[in-house]
Point group: C4
Amino acid sequence: MGKNRLEAFSDGVIAIIITIMVLELKVPHGDEIAVLLPLVPVLLSYVLSFVYLGIYWNNHHHMLHTCRTVTGSVLWANLHLLFWLSLVPFTTGWMGENHFATLPAAMYGFVLLMAAIAYWILQQRIIASQGEESILKKAIGNDWKGRLSPFMYVAAIALAFSAPWTAVAIYVLVAVIWVVPDRRIERVLTGREAGE
Amino acid sequence: MGKNRLEAFSDGVIAIIITIMVLELKVPHGDEIAVLLPLVPVLLSYVLSFVYLGIYWNNHHHMLHTCRTVTGSVLWANLHLLFWLSLVPFTTGWMGENHFATLPAAMYGFVLLMAAIAYWILQQRIIASQGEESILKKAIGNDWKGRLSPFMYVAAIALAFSAPWTAVAIYVLVAVIWVVPDRRIERVLTGREAGE
Amino acid sequence: MGKNRLEAFSDGVIAIIITIMVLELKVPHGDEIAVLLPLVPVLLSYVLSFVYLGIYWNNHHHMLHTCRTVTGSVLWANLHLLFWLSLVPFTTGWMGENHFATLPAAMYGFVLLMAAIAYWILQQRIIASQGEESILKKAIGNDWKGRLSPFMYVAAIALAFSAPWTAVAIYVLVAVIWVVPDRRIERVLTGREAGE
Amino acid sequence: MGKNRLEAFSDGVIAIIITIMVLELKVPHGDEIAVLLPLVPVLLSYVLSFVYLGIYWNNHHHMLHTCRTVTGSVLWANLHLLFWLSLVPFTTGWMGENHFATLPAAMYGFVLLMAAIAYWILQQRIIASQGEESILKKAIGNDWKGRLSPFMYVAAIALAFSAPWTAVAIYVLVAVIWVVPDRRIERVLTGREAGE
């Protein structure tokens, strides 16, 4: 199995997921500003999920870049990841249409958590396929983002039941952590540790 | 006709099929757990079909890997396979929304059966195009999975009329047989034959 | 403009068109055979359009294969073709849901006619871009299929107003003419001419 | 990050956007000409957006052609552009279904404006990544189209509140300016300047 076709297929699926998500933003009846207002939370959750899928697509690319041979377990771990990502449009729409209510916000976090776990499994399968001197293992380093995110999702899911907006704030925070390049964050974190 | 474009087109179609299937999982009104419950069978049938399409994508890739020239009959046999796969979202949604009732469960098996036959035809067309020393013919070996599956689908369709859940169990079993790597299954089967 | 990206984009659009067409086959309420019956004409028109898009994809590939440089006019002629093809799911659904009634059957033919004209324009643009010794010009030969089809569509559109089913029969006939490899048809035609 | 995968992903997203837009053209009930009439403005706005997405796809390709390395900021600037383009089906459907009324027409222009700005940001990020001797910088020249378009969108948005059809006329004009090859337009403009 060449990795090119795995990349092409994953790109295709992620591109479709990111695009059909916008179908939840249904064209309203009427042409006044009032009919747009109920769509604002749907749009906001769309923006958030768009960023998440962008992050996954980006990281997925870098991860596969180090991969030479695609074993059967890498292939199924990849499909497992795509499965959880394919549920993102559903949780995005549900959360947006219910104005970030408790259960939809928790469910949104649950799917992100499962996607993060699926990503981690895929990462482990690729490392295992590369044997001792795994390039990917070196490349991810201490992988603090990858190890921190699942805990933040769990915290967000728990918080959703008392303060759903806190959960959403945590999802935004995790996205920001991934989007902002490492060095800057690390400098900020180091600064804080040194400063406080 | 280069095989690259055939692969790319097939990948595209399968990626779209696998992703639009999730559109059947319609965002419910309300934010309570109760509104999610009717979606459970839809989700379960989605999982099953996701695995089936993953299997087809995977096997399709391996099969085309051995293919050098794409004849007209290979091309149309491939489109024939994609046609039946394109009906999977429909039967998946129908089976899920009717909680695995008789007719939808039988229809689900019928489309799987037709896809299996279409796959077999494509395989024969590629083998024929490769002439005597066909690599694909050697690669598939005795092809026990490919020969067994249609009979299991036929059995499932028949059983759907008395016990629809048995039909679904058979669909799950066929998927498991394809996902689990050969050697392990063969060892299990050999072990059983020897042990009993 | 490299032709690879033009091919990839066209493949993507055609793959999506062919797949979203199946969304017109809406999952019915109820699990009896009766709820499937209204879908039969929708399915039949889907099969017909699937074959047409398969033909276009196939011919489009062969045509671009001869193309080396993509000029601006080739690019827009290609988008023009994709535009008309993108209307096929609409006319397919409309014709299927109205059981091949007059106006939908005529409209179906109109979009096929416009697609055929768009294809012809694209062909001319590529030939023009290749200058004197155009490979494509030689490859298409007398292009009897390409020249015959528009007239058959026009005849079908006219006939739709008195006998819509005749129009549909002509659409099927045109598809058959394109799917069946040339030599066989030519032999049949030659045989007839010689025999009668 | 190789630019090939960025191109392939962008192509995929644009191909899907251009195609799902047609889903707003919903199959009507009934088979008379009367049921088609309400769809005419939807079709017209679809044609306009199809041309816009074709222009973006075309220009995007030429821009990336000059790009050798894809930095993190280029990648996110590209996703930012795709985000705004992904909203085009929504504004297209809203404008079409409301017969080019004030607010939908203004909103349509707003998304075009944001896409134009996103495109400009992406252009700047690529030029910055190429350093001093940027090929892209030379290639775009004075970029009069790119600099003029945002102002025309702003004018159209303002005009939409008094005369929505003028706004639409401006959108058509901008599309024409981009589609028609430069030299011809420049000759026309030069001719006018000289003649008047």
